[in-house]
Subunit: 179 residues, 2 copies
């Protein structure tokens, strides 16, 4: 049996310097985050810091994972000079539901098939923040080439129209360019 | 929509003083934890500290939750002078599975019905540690009256015989008396 090392917590620091330059910082639902010039992934200090853990799959089934793996590409592609950091918090009502109730809403919203439509153009990674006692529940991170930005906007529009998004009580859309 | 406060992280500190006196400290699978005289729940310093978040339900369905709620009682009952702190880590193989694969093994092991058999005698609370970058994935906490200890041992024996326990790669059984 493999000895499993502890998971790493990733910090996104909004600061005066960092790998990613902030193009826009837009509150979508609830309070925004202070304006900053850059976001440093793996930073430590900043005007604000958001922490999350790239953890295990919470809803995805084995067949869904196969479909994702067949199409998705990783972060760090040279052409992916644009990124989006979208921290999200869901309401108490969402978290009070049992697993099957949350999964039913997730399914009804076609969350996963919508994401599949934009692979491999939009690469994504999900960080979990809720158990860390953070204000956000998730930090969603996306990377794509500049010509994918319109597709990315369309994907967000479709996701935000899902029933699941009625439970989002804070969301901020931070767009970035690799500096 | 209710503004949701961040979750609280609970610290279990193995130390020279604390509300709970250690009666035994037994490694079940993998490395043990250093011997300590007491465990302070909500402590901060100690020979060792284990952190976890009482978070949302990960597998439990709505009908299962109803069955649990109908029978379970809370922590802190005056007669519950005994407790057990059982930190558990599951292997890489467990976490590499998709949600439906993990749930199928959880179901096959009858994990939830076994727990139901010991309600309301054995009160329990689950803390999640994995996303915090802790060495353990879960801190399981149980409280019961002294005359329930044999039933508690039987419950553990039945749980440890489940297929799910083949994925446990570290487990320590710490028994406590309220001091």
């Amino acid at each position: 049996m493999t000895h499993r090392p502890p998971l790493a917590i990733t910090c996104f620091a909004g600061a005066e310097a960092g790998e990613w330059r902030v193009d826009s910082n837009t509150p979508v639902v609830g309070a925004g985050l202070a304006r900053v010039a850059h976001v440093a992934v793996g930073g430590a200090d900043g005007v604000w810091t958001l922490n999350g853990t790239a953890s295990h799959l919470r809803y995805t089934t084995a067949p869904e994972r196969l479909a994702l793996r067949a199409r998705q590409e990783g972060l760090g592609r040279p052409g992916s000079t644009r990124a989006a950091l979208i921290p999200i918090r869901k309401s108490e009502d969402w978290w009070a539901m049992a697993q099957d109730e949350r999964r039913a809403i997730y399914d009804a919203g076609r969350h996963l098939p919508i994401g599949l439509d934009y692979l491999p153009g939009i690469a994504r990674k999900l960080y979990h923040s809720r158990d860390l006692g953070e204000d956000f529940d998730f930090l969603t991170w996306f990377e794509f080439a500049p010509d994918q930005e319109a597709a990315f906007d369309q994907m967000l529009e479709r996701l935000r129209a899902c029933a699941e998004w009625a439970f989002v009580d804070r969301e901020i859309d931070i767009r970035l360019t690799r500096s």
